[in-house]
């Protein structure tokens, strides 16, 4: 398998981006794909390891060496078959996954790892290009009906798997369009929405029924779910974390999701009914140094912000992998996203103390303090402010991107479901079954905010359990054991 000396002959080459100057003028994806023969070369760098740590690190259990080899062999269709056997939506993960697989890649010990994520994207895009990805409705139906609540990656994956097992699946989405955070959370410049649409079209053709604008428990009584033999809740972990600082009620302090969703709707040509928020010509401060924060930075720059500043309460991570997170574990290291490259001032170990309004009650500035973390062995690190480091930052827009605290409680309360100590819906990682036997839950709603790749994985695994619950056995695939454990 693979080209034995490929890793010695070829260097890692990933896709490049069109220039910052050009790309901030629009909201389209801005990657420059590699030529096919270059991608095939990249596939040949795979060493076909005796233990593919990549597969262990991938929450989906993608058969990475196997599809790499197929790419190297120019057998793209076979590669697609292998990729699809563990991953319903490689077009999402191929664009958006932080790729723990690449961090666990054995070649990464000595050289830059294989471009696994990009290979994935190339495989699936070749599939769409060549018309290889078409609907495969099940050959028979079981007569069982399953409701999936939520159309994010977890819900969609669960729905497709359950449909494949022959069950009749209905997906409920409270928004006006399908995809959950993929649709309205992630900016178009990272995921153009046609990518979602073309996949949904296939799912529909396979026989899945989608119902938008239905908010179960709000405009759709939960009792109506009784007509389903099983229910899978994939509602996500949508409660945003608040910033409990003085003046948090001032106008101009906005949750990132509100800001990003508006722009996504605007891009889709959908009217925005609430007040529109723009970063144009403003000094923007994005609080939170994660992916959402990064998305806010990219969007603000596209709006034409005067300045963009980013705060992160944690220390600046090292540029390279550090000793405490050795290979193959997920490294704590500085991540500079494409949005960061588009322009922003990044600040670490900084905490916001107070928001300051102008006379009209609009945000004018905020006050911060530098902090440090006091670490005692066996105890949780404690935050301590450093005296005399207060600073005033003039700003007109603050975007709060500090993550999510957990799922909404509408469904758990109405359905009588237990939640765990982190307010997630309670179900085990292997069974996905809630305390109400026919109700299952998967994705962020079960595990708390996480990656798309985990959402798809949970959706798939939960589907198998639902199938087993309904039929007494299941032929649906599972990723099997072997998740790479933590550091």
């Amino acid at each position: 398998m693979g080209k034995v000396t490929g890793f010695k002959e070829f260097e890692r080459k990933d896709e490049t981006y069109i220039s910052v100057k050009e790309r901030i003028l629009h909201y389209k994806e801005f990657t420059v794909p590699l030529k096919t023969d270059e991608v095939e070369k990249q596939g040949s760098r795979c060493m076909d390891c005796g233990i593919p740590f990549c597969q262990s690190a991938c929450p989906l259990g993608n058969l990475i060496p196997d599809f790499n080899d197929m790419v190297h062999e120019k057998k793209w269709k076979n590669a697609l078959e292998i990729l699809h056997s563990t991953n319903n939506f490689p077009e999402f993960t191929g664009r958006l996954c932080p790729a723990p697989c690449e961090q666990a890649c054995v070649l990464g010990i000595v050289n830059p790892p294989i471009t696994i994520e990009n290979l994935e994207k190339n495989i699936v895009e070749k599939g769409f290009e060549n018309g290889w990805i078409v609907a495969h409705p099940p050959t028979a139906r079981t007569g069982k009906k399953v409701a999936v609540v939520g159309s994010g990656p977890a819900g969609l994956a669960a729905a497709q798997q359950l449909n494949r097992a022959g069950h009749l699946v209905t997906v409920f989405e409270r928004d006006d369009a399908l995809g959950g955070l993929l649709r309205y959370g992630i900016p178009n410049f990272k995921l153009e929405k046609e990518i979602i649409d073309r996949r949904i079209a296939i799912l529909e053709e396979e026989g899945i029924e989608f119902k938008t604008n239905i908010h179960v428990g709000v405009n759709y009584p939960v009792e109506k779910l009784d007509e389903f033999h099983a229910v899978v809740l994939c509602g996500g972990a949508t409660l945003s974390r608040e910033l409990p600082a003085k003046g948090a009620e001032i106008k101009g302090i906005v949750q990132a999701m509100t800001f990003l969703k508006q722009q996504n709707k605007r891009n889709a040509g959908i009217d925005i009914e609430t007040e529109e928020i723009f970063a144009t010509d403003k000094n923007v401060i994005v609080i939170g140094g994660g992916d959402t924060g990064s998305d806010c930075i990219g969007t603000s720059n596209r709006h034409g912000a005067k300045s963009v500043t980013n705060f992160e309460i944690m220390p600046k991570p090292p540029v390279n992998r550090c000793e405490t997170t050795p290979w193959p574990f997920w490294p704590l290291k500085l991540k500079t996203s494409t949005s960061h490259e588009e322009g922003c001032d990044r600040n670490w170990l900084i905490s916001t103390k107070e928001f300051i309004a102008d006379e009209k009650g609009n945000l004018k500035a905020l006050k911060t303090v530098q902090i440090e973390w006091v670490i005692k062995p066996g105890e949780r690190p404690v935050l301590r402010e450093i005296e005399g480091t207060e600073k005033i930052w003039p700003c007109e827009l603050v975007l709060l991107a500090m993550g999510f605290t957990g799922p909404e409680t509408t469904l758990s309360e109405q359905l009588g479901l237990k939640t765990d100590f982190r307010s997630n819906y309670q179900a085990s990682e292997t069974e996905f079954q809630t305390n109400v036997p026919h109700i299952f839950t998967a994705g962020d709603m079960r595990r708390g905010q996480s990656l798309i790749v985990w959402a798809i994985s949970e959706g798939r695994e939960a589907a198998k359990k639902v199938d087993e619950y309904l039929m007494g056995y299941s032929n649906l695939p599972t990723k099997g054991k072997g998740d790479l454990i933590g550091v």
């Binding site: 000396t5 005796g50 078959e81 000793e323 695939p477």
Partner: protein
């Protein structure tokens, strides 16, 4: 001794010394007896003594019936010689039983119409018996039987005696009397008489006082002494047997016995009439291989065949591929192959019927047999030369028995008949070729008339699922075979669960483990020594063995019995009066489950019985046409069951089994099917898969036919290799030989379906097997086809995959272990160890099923410190070459720092590592390995060892050799291995100086001479019978015995070899411990264990089962950075471990601390366990298996049936359970001490000296101790040339000049035995015909087999012919010799050899380096004797000529050789007769080196 614990008596093995002496002139004397016994005494180093120091493994002597002696010493009248028979009878000491036995015998003699003339008590002197022998001593009498005035010919009389004895034996056996096993007749004959017993050779004549009586005279005497692997020998198994004795081992015994049993169905003979049924079984139960063979020889002598003919039939020479053999002889062998399969294995067989005395050597020539004919008419033959003092001037001829050849003396005619003459006479007696032409039909000659096989209704993918195919299997196993005709290569050890512990449905094949040769017999090299192998089979019904007619060869001959779909169609549709086939389906109704499968099996037997009764002689078992309702019975089960059931029904001999199955795909699968009786196998699904692969362009560039042919060829080679592992050369004798051990099947199941195959720990039965079939079958027919899944499972046996088979080294364990050692974190180690140890839920190993028991905690501080414990730790043998210098030295430094031991592996070691580094670290590996390639083994290498390990087998691939491809033999690797850069290196499967246990004892002795301070360690691989082998090795005086598990690592091996040979160490170490303790040998040796040891718990279990030292290989490598790429064989290891690529080597990040941390963690975990169990020291803990019990909490369904109590068995004894004393190597009488004493000025002051000594064959390994002392002083420089000149007169013992270093010149005027100049390290050896001798040097043998094996440097001038395998693996020595036997210069990698006379066959096989010049006067050499696979005949350039001439001049100077003189005298003419043998790879390498040198000089 009875079966107990893991010890099974049937695995006793023996090897021996044997010989005979006879007088051609027919002169009788008592001296012959004494001379013959003298031979045995001189061969005593080839025998063994039990722990009582007195009981030998058995010895005996066969002589003429001493008529005059008996006339004098009996009270009754005796007829004329040959008119009566004498029987030597072993009886019970209990008078009542004794009388009963005598009565039985007398009754049967009378029933045959013969008369008992009387009995004579044989006088014995018991004072010489050892305690063990005395306990079993029988009463011994002689019976005299007359013809009772019947007009009987000699043959008729013999037949009656035979019948009487056989029937009496059965009667006694059926009597159930307690001493029935003692009843035994060593001989019953009109011509010969045997005295034998559990005696050491000296004591035979002391015990049997008859033998010292001067009246007792004979013309001939055949003697034998036994070296058995264990100490449970018995009186009756002492040799000689009635017609023969045997030095060797019959590997195919089980098959031979089964086939003989089947033949009984058809036996008919007018001489026995109705009595014939009473003779059965011909082969009695529970006898040794030699005894069984003798019983068949006896029977065949009753079929009107002569003794030489019988021997030719049972032990045929390698006729199949010999272009030089005359057709008549080939026809004889081919004809007889239709009647009898070879009794295959290494064997030197002296035989006699009183009229003829002779000997025969097996086709491989793996046993030494030398003979001397004297002017006064004596012929002396024995395993060694020089056993009797014969004056040189009295010698007519020194000869040796050649492979496959016979040596015969006609006592009545008083002459020697040579091989050609005897055989010519025998083969021309019948028109064998005509018979064959008429009746033997090659399958290839049958026309193909189109496809008759029924079409499959189910698509291929579904059927693949039913038969459990995975994508991995197709891509990594099948495709490479179809593409390249060879098996795919892999590396690292197997860390997946045993079949019985796997959660994945397993094929039945996976429960069978191949047995392999180690110590007691050698594995073969079927690739380099292909001429002795044969893979063809003949199918069809057998006939009455008493018939010698054309009917016998009505058989179908198949050249490669792995056959294509077209071939099976031929078999099905072929119409012929002699052949009729029937197809029997092996499917069962899946809905009926277990009952369904049982019913189907019974029904198959019924169908087969009926068909065979109606004249079918080909039974095709077919699993075609599976569907939703019908699932396949494992084909191996069907095959074995049909065979064993029809055998029970008395119908097995009239048909052959042909398999048509989708199941077999790996060589192992095919090997098991052949092993359980299949005669041809059609893997029809493989044919389909290959077609599909070609259609899908997975395989390109070949046609489907070619792909299938390639696959079939690859399988044939793979099976051949499996056969060779156990030392079997022909498929004909492998068939039905059942050479497997079952692991994980219940005894109820095996007794029913696989009778006679050992299965020691129970396991699952048909119920669970059916469940596994059901699971596979169900997966093929899902109610709804799930989209988005792969058609087949991805696999994961050879590489880790989620959803695939579980591996112990997986992402979690590797990453946690590396984290632990790098950050010195015991917490991380605990995560790692827990993952490996906590196996109750995910059981992977047998030790996983154990839990600690009988805890008796003590404070942790009382346990010996970790620093003491790690001294017992070793790292595994990994050669420099297989791993990088960085990785290799890292292990050495780490182990030296903590006082443990690292192992050099088989790659030599750079001498600059022998000195300490400036910082105090030492890169010197404490253990130096000696393996079959002998790479880098020199006196200096051995001198720098603390322990020397003889690698008998390797866990990953026991019984196989190895190979280091040319491009990996970089200059720095070549230097350590004393070989030429860029010349590929091959390790042969066998050590060419260990074909038997006595040879191992010799090598141990050699190495002990080479370094008296070093412990000698013998590495064995766990298998059934390893305990008895270990006992033998302990008796051979090893200091340490290592038992390796089957799952150890390797740098390269065929993928499928990694999994199917050998057993887990739990079984091996326990069996070794139990057997050694039972034999009171345990205290003499240190027992070591390795094979995937990973944690302190692993070590604790190994210790409780009997181990006191522990080896780790994979785990310390992982600690050093290995991430189990399993790419060691590709030189692409990205972390710089298993690679020589300078760029990749830079990636090595391991440090000694990493390895030390690992050892520390393991010791720490171990100490906690020791404290909880209550052991303060390892010594207290060894063998205390009562501290283990089988974990009751096992959840694993399949594991529930296992019974591990035999592993935990403790022999009831108070003998020590661990090593308490050291071996007595008896070095004190070695000649070298005299040399050291007298040669002091030369050795210490480099003064030139000349010394002279007499020498005899018991002076073994002369020169090694002197060289060891020189190495200690001068390293590998030795002394200046010709400083110490030693001259010896007589016959030198084995290993003369072994390891001899520079500055020594050692001359023998006389001759030498085997292993002359073994690992020669620079000395000059001169072996010269004595001046007084009158024979021609180039027609007489002067040195034995395997001379200059692994020589690295030095010169040898040999004034005569050398035996087989001259200069095997020579890498630097220069030798001139006047003739060589078969396989000369095999595996040679360097040096120069000049052969001035005849060569045998297969010269230069596997020769990758060095140059040979052969004087080929008769052009025989260049026309067929040289194996041209790796060499070419090159022109002799001027420089060559000069060198050649100089070498011959030297030869003349040193030996005064007539031949050398003649050649030199007429140089112009003689020069043109020389052929230069040049390895092609060597030539290229020399050119490359020259180029590199030029570049170097140019840049300088």
């Amino acid at each position: 001794m009875e079966k107990q614990g893991l010890y099974l008596p049937e695995f006793e093995r023996d090897n021996c010394g044997a010989g005979f002496i006879c007088n051609l002139k027919g002169e009788k004397s008592n001296k012959i007896i004494h001379d013959a016994l003298e031979i045995l005494i001189k061969l005593e180093h080839r025998g063994a003594v039990s722990s009582d120091g007195k009981t030998g493994d058995g010895a005996g002597i066969l002589i003429d019936i001493p008529h005059e002696f008996f006339v004098k010493n009996t009270t009754f009248d005796l007829p004329k010689p040959k008119e009566y028979a004498v029987g030597m009878v072993f009886l019970s000491q209990n008078e009542n039983q004794l009388n009963f036995f005598k009565n039985c015998l007398e009754t049967e003699i009378k029933n045959q119409g013969l008369a008992v003339l009387g009995w004579r008590k044989v006088p014995v002197n018991k004072t010489h018996l050892g305690t063990i022998a005395a306990k079993n001593e029988p009463a011994i009498e002689q019976i005299f039987i007359g013809k009772n005035r019947l007009p009987l010919t000699e043959n008729q009389f013999n037949a009656k005696l035979f019948a009487a004895r056989k029937i009496a034996e059965h009667a006694v056996e059926n009597s159930k009397l307690s001493d029935r096993k003692k009843f035994y007749l060593p001989s019953l004959s009109t011509t010969t008489l045997i005295y034998k017993g559990l005696l050491i050779p000296e004591d035979i004549r002391n015990y049997y006082t008859d033998l010292s009586n001067p009246d007792l005279v004979t013309r001939l005497a055949l003697v034998h002494q036994r070296f058995s692997t264990n100490t449970f020998p018995s009186w009756d198994l002492a040799q000689p047997f009635r017609y023969m004795c045997h030095n060797g081992e019959i590997n195919t015994l089980r098959g031979n016995i089964n086939r003989m049993k089947a033949r009984e169905e058809l036996m008919k003979s007018p001489i026995f009439g109705d009595d014939i049924k009473k003779l059965f079984p011909i082969i009695l139960d529970g006898k040794s291989d030699s005894a069984c063979m003798d019983m068949v020889v006896e029977l065949l002598l009753m079929t009107d065949r002569t003794l030489p003919e019988v021997m030719m039939m049972m032990v045929p020479e390698a006729w199949e591929k010999d272009p030089a053999m005359i057709d008549e002889k080939k026809a004889f062998y081919e004809y007889n192959s239709c009647i009898m399969e070879p009794w295959d294995g290494p064997a030197s067989i002296p035989f006699t019927d009183g009229n003829y005395i002779g000997a025969l050597l097996d086709r491989n020539g793996l046993r030494p047999s030398r003979y001397t004919v004297t002017k006064d008419g004596n012929v002396v033959m024995s395993s060694e030369t020089g056993v009797l003092d014969i004056k040189p001037e009295n010698v007519v001829h020194h000869g040796r028995l050649e492979p496959g050849k016979m040596f015969l003396v006609d006592m009545n005619a008083g002459r020697i008949i040579n091989d050609e003459e005897i055989k010519q006479k025998i083969v021309s007696e019948k028109p064998y070729r005509k018979w064959l032409n008429k009746n033997l039909l090659p399958l290839a000659d049958i026309p193909y008339t189109g496809n008759d096989s029924p079409k499959e209704e189910i698509d291929l993918v579904a059927r693949q699922k039913i038969f459990g195919y995975t994508i991995e299997e197709i891509n990594t196993i099948i495709t490479p075979m179809a593409t390249g005709g060879k098996e795919a290569i892999g590396s690292m050890g197997n860390d997946t669960p045993l079949a019985v512990l796997s959660d994945e449905p397993q094929l039945l094949f996976n429960y069978f483990k191949q047995l392999f040769a180690q110590v007691t017999n050698p594995p073969l090299d079927g690739i380099r020594e292909e001429i002795v192998t044969d893979f063809s089979l003949a199918i069809g019904g057998d006939r009455n063995i008493f018939d010698i007619s054309d009917q016998q060869c009505k058989k179908l001959k198949i050249q490669n019995p792995v056959i294509s779909n077209a071939d099976i169609d031929k078999l099905k549709s072929f119409k012929h009066p002699d052949f009729k086939s029937v197809s029997i389906s092996t499917l069962y109704d899946i809905t009926k489950g277990l009952n369904g499968i049982e019913a189907a099996l019974k029904d198959m037997v019924k169908q087969a019985y009926k068909a065979v009764s109606e004249g079918c002689n080909i039974v095709i078992l077919s699993d075609r046409n599976v569907n939703e309702h019908y699932a396949p019975i494992p084909i191996l089960l069907s095959c074995s069951y049909i065979g064993s059931q029809l055998s029970k029904m008395g119908q097995r001999s009239s048909f052959g089994i042909v398999i048509e199955s989708a199941e077999p795909r790996e060589p192992h699968h095919f090997a098991t099917l052949f092993g359980y009786g299949a005669s041809a196998i059609n893997p029809y699904m493989i044919n389909e898969i290959i077609r599909q692969q070609i259609e899908d362009e997975e395989i390109i560039g070949i046609s489907a036919e070619k792909g299938i042919q390639n696959f079939n060829k690859a399988i044939a080679q793979g099976v051949l290799k499996i056969m060779n592992k156990i030392g079997i050369s022909t498929l004909h004798s492998y068939r039905a030989s059942q050479i497997f051990e079952i692991l994980g099947l219940s005894s109820a199941f095996t007794e029913e379906y696989f009778p006679n195959t050992p299965s020691r720990i129970e396991g699952i039965g048909l119920y669970d097997i059916e469940k596994e079939i059901f699971l596979r079958h169900r997966s093929a027919f899902p109610p709804i086809k799930i989209e988005g899944t792969l058609p087949l499972n991805i696999g994961g046996d050879y590489r880790w995959r989620r959803n695939g088979e579980r591996h112990m080294f997986n992402p979690t364990t590797v990453s946690k272990l590396q984290q632990a050692v790098r950050t010195n974190s015991y917490e991380s180690y605990e995560v790692y160890a827990a993952d490996i140890n906590e196996q109750s839920k995910k059981l992977m190993t047998l030790r996983g099923m154990f839990e600690f028991n009988n805890l008796d905690p003590i404070p942790l501080e009382e346990v010996e410190p970790w620093t003491e414990i790690v001294k017992r730790f070793k790292t595994g043998a990994m050669s420099y070459g297989s791993i990088s210098q960085e990785a290799h030295e890292n292990l050495a430094i780490a182990m030296n720092r903590i006082g443990g031991k690292s192992n050099s592996g088989e790659g030599g070691e750079n001498k600059n590592r022998f000195r300490k580094d400036l910082n105090g670290d030492s890169r010197n590996s404490a253990i130096k390995q000696v393996a079959s390639g002998r790479f880098g083994v020199s006196t200096n290498y051995l001198t720098n060892a603390k322990e020397i390990q003889i690698k008998m087998a390797q866990g990953a691939k026991p019984g196989e050799g190895g190979q280091l491809p040319a491009d990996k033999v970089l200059p720095w690797i070549a230097e350590c291995r004393s070989s030429t850069p860029y010349v590929g290196l091959i390790s042969p499967p066998p050590h060419h100086d260990i074909y038997s246990i006595e040879d191992l004892a010799q090598l141990i002795f050699d190495l002990k001479n080479a370094n008296r301070e070093a412990r000698i360690n013998v590495k064995l691989v766990s298998k059934v019978g390893v305990g008895t082998i270990a006992a033998g090795v302990a008796k051979a005086k090893a200091d340490v015995i290592l038992i390796s598990g089957y799952d150890g690592g390797t740098g390269a091996s065929p993928l499928t070899s990694l999994r199917h040979a050998g057993l887990p160490w739990e079984l091996g170490i326990a069996e070794a411990q139990q057997t050694l303790v039972l034999n009171n040998l345990r205290n003499r040796v240190v027992l070591e264990c390795d094979g995937q040891l990973k944690t302190g718990r692993d070590v604790a279990i190994a210790c409780l089962l009997g181990a006191e030292e522990f080896g780790f290989a994979t785990a310390p490598l992982v600690a050093s950075g290995c991430i189990m790429m399993r790419k060691c064989h590709l030189n692409t290891c990205p972390v710089g471990i298993a690679t020589q690529d300078p760029e990749l080597r830079k990636n090595f990040k391991g440090t000694p601390e990493h390895v030390i941390n690992f050892m520390y963690f393991v010791a720490k975990e171990l100490r906690k366990i020791m404290a909880s169990l209550g052991f303060r020291t390892i010594n207290e803990m060894v063998g205390q298996s009562q501290k283990i019990n089988v974990n009751k909490a096992i959840e694993h369904a399949k594991a529930k049936g296992l019974d591990l109590s035999p592993i935990l068995y403790q022999p009831k004894t108070h003998k020590p359970l661990h090593n308490t004393e050291s071996q007595n190597h008896e070095l004190e009488n070695v000649l070298d001490f005299d040399i050291l004493r007298m040669g002091h000025p030369a050795i210490y002051r480099k003064e030139k000296m000349f010394l002279e000594f007499p020498i005899k064959n018991t002076d073994r390994t002369v020169g090694a101790i002197v060289s060891n002392e020189l190495s200690k002083i001068y390293g590998d420089n030795g002394l200046p040339e010709d400083t110490l000149n030693l001259k010896f007169k007589g016959s030198a013992g084995q290993s003369f000049g072994a390891f001899a270093t520079k500055g020594l010149t050692m001359q023998v005027d006389g001759n030498t035995n085997d292993y002359l100049g073994k690992s020669l390290s620079g000395a000059k050896l001169i072996i010269k015909k004595p001046d007084e001798a009158t024979f021609a040097s180039d027609e007489n043998i002067i040195v034995g087999n395997v001379s200059l094996y692994g020589a690295t440097n030095g010169e040898a001038y040999i004034n005569g012919i050398a035996g087989e395998r001259f200069c095997v693996r020579n890498s630097g020595a220069i030798a001139v010799v006047e003739g060589v036997g078969d396989h000369g210069c095999e595996y040679m990698t360097g040096g120069k050899v000049v052969v001035l006379g005849k060569t045998g066959r297969n010269f230069a096989a596997g020769m990758s380096g060095g140059i040979a010049y052969v004087y080929d006067e008769k052009q025989k050499f260049r026309n067929g004797l040289c194996n041209m696979e790796m060499v070419a005949f090159d022109p002799i350039f001027e420089a060559d000529e000069k060198e050649l001439k100089q070498l011959i001049k030297n030869h003349f100077k040193y030996t005064n050789s007539d031949l050398a003189y003649r050649i030199l005298d007429d140089w112009e003419n003689s020069f043109s007769n020389f052929v230069k043998v040049m390895p092609t790879e060597y030539k290229k390498a020399l050119m490359r080196l020259e180029m590199e040198n030029n570049i170097k000089t140019a840049t300088v």
